[in-house]
Symmetry: C2
Subunit: 244 residues, 2 copies
């Protein structure tokens, strides 16, 4: 279920320059900053790259940093002592991580694809943050949005059937992938069935069977396991919302 990992390498010290060509900028908290503020923020940031399977942060470790993902997909994992795993989310470009008041990380962060991110020392960011009221407002907006998403996920985990969970997941992935591009009817899933299962509170077998049934019902089609075509978005949405 888990992949081994070695340490990541800092590829360049944080400088305003990388920000200028950062294509996550307009999707992240940085979009609330003007150029002068970007410089101040970049001064305390470091850019890192992680290979698939590498651990970016470990649940329980001292929460020394915030992260801002600039490319790739990661997974946020919580574990029980016997190995049961719950995935909390699949952050991608633009997601800000470390939104926790606590002194230790409440989840592990692991790279699914190659992940690039911008890393901030918590102490430094806190010191700088008081100078940027817009940044604080932006973080509040982000946290509130995360909260709404988390509550929706609680409904899913507590009350939806396997079929409804998978439909919800596909529609949600489609929607977020559309946010960065034109409307489409195709979802790319960089995560494994095991990741999806642990995100939806199910097993890989149930995920696979649910995929097969959606396919048999002509609501989706699967070429390879990572590419899903949405054939009937309306019906799939209805299922996701428990309307059947």
């Amino acid at each position: 279920m888990y992949m081994e990992n070695s340490r990541a390498i800092v590829i360049e010290p944080g400088l305003p320059d990388p920000c200028a060509k950062c294509d996550a900028r307009q999707h992240s908290m940085c979009n609330s900053l003007d150029e002068r503020d970007m410089f101040r923020l970049a001064e305390i940031a470091g850019v890192q790259k992680f290979e698939p399977g590498q651990t970016i942060a470990e649940e329980g470790d001292s929460a020394a940093h915030f992260f801002n993902i600039t490319a790739g997909t990661a997974r946020l994992c919580k574990l029980l002592p016997d190995g049961r795993r719950q995935i909390i989310g699949f952050p991608t470009r633009g997601h800000f991580l470390g939104l926790a008041v606590t002194s230790t990380y409440g989840f592990s962060v692991e790279a699914i694809t190659e992940v690039r991110l911008c890393k901030f020392s918590r102490a430094k960011l806190n010191r700088v943050i008081s100078d940027f009221p817009e940044l604080e407002a932006k973080l509040l907006q982000t946290a509130m949005h995360e909260l709404v998403v988390a509550q929706e996920q609680m409904l899913l985990l507590g009350r939806k059937t396997a079929r409804e969970r998978l439909a919800s997941f596909l529609i949600s992935e489609l929607t977020t992938q559309e946010a960065c591009a034109a409307p489409k009817n195709h979802v790319h899933l960089p995560m494994t069935r095991s990741d999806i299962a642990d995100y939806l509170g199910l097993t890989i077998e149930t995920i696979s069977r649910s995929f097969s049934r959606l396919k048999a019902d002509k609501l989706i089609s699967l070429d390879n396991a990572t590419e899903v075509a949405i054939l009937d978005r309306h019906k799939l949405t209805a299922i996701a919302n428990g309307e059947t």
Copy 2:
């Protein structure tokens, strides 16, 4: 599963005076304000009282207000079209509600016991908030804490057994009730078995059976259904954390 409700009555216009005697003050966001700011905030607030079963806000309604609960216990409910219900939380004194960027409420709020609260117009609060950076910082802290709690609940709903869920709930209730008082070994549960079931993603029967089994195992004892004595906190905590 649901109780009828009529409309609540405003019992007094918001004034600095009620804040002075508000015993939720030190537990709420208001504790980050000095006296002058309290006056400004109180100017835009209204105090309300709700009877058990009354609806305080309805999922999907235009989110015109924020609430700050000053007394009593409420439940936050999300519903699926066929009536399946997920309870997101049981806010009590000091909890701030309406933490959502969206234009409509993402959940309904219903009074379990008699509930008193302080109500703020969203538009007015937003206008006032920019003058109180400490308030914004406080709201961010609150939102981040809620997020950590929500993530913990996702682990519970996705991966814990019925027994573990109930143990988690009891320990969590004990802990929060202790936060306002001395350490104790006794939990008061103002909510029904149905509420607990919908909070833990189970049925009332499973809740009842899990209570009975914890009782048979001498980890708790029940006088009436609403009073639980914690007999072995250590073992109960271990179960809650999935260590058995």
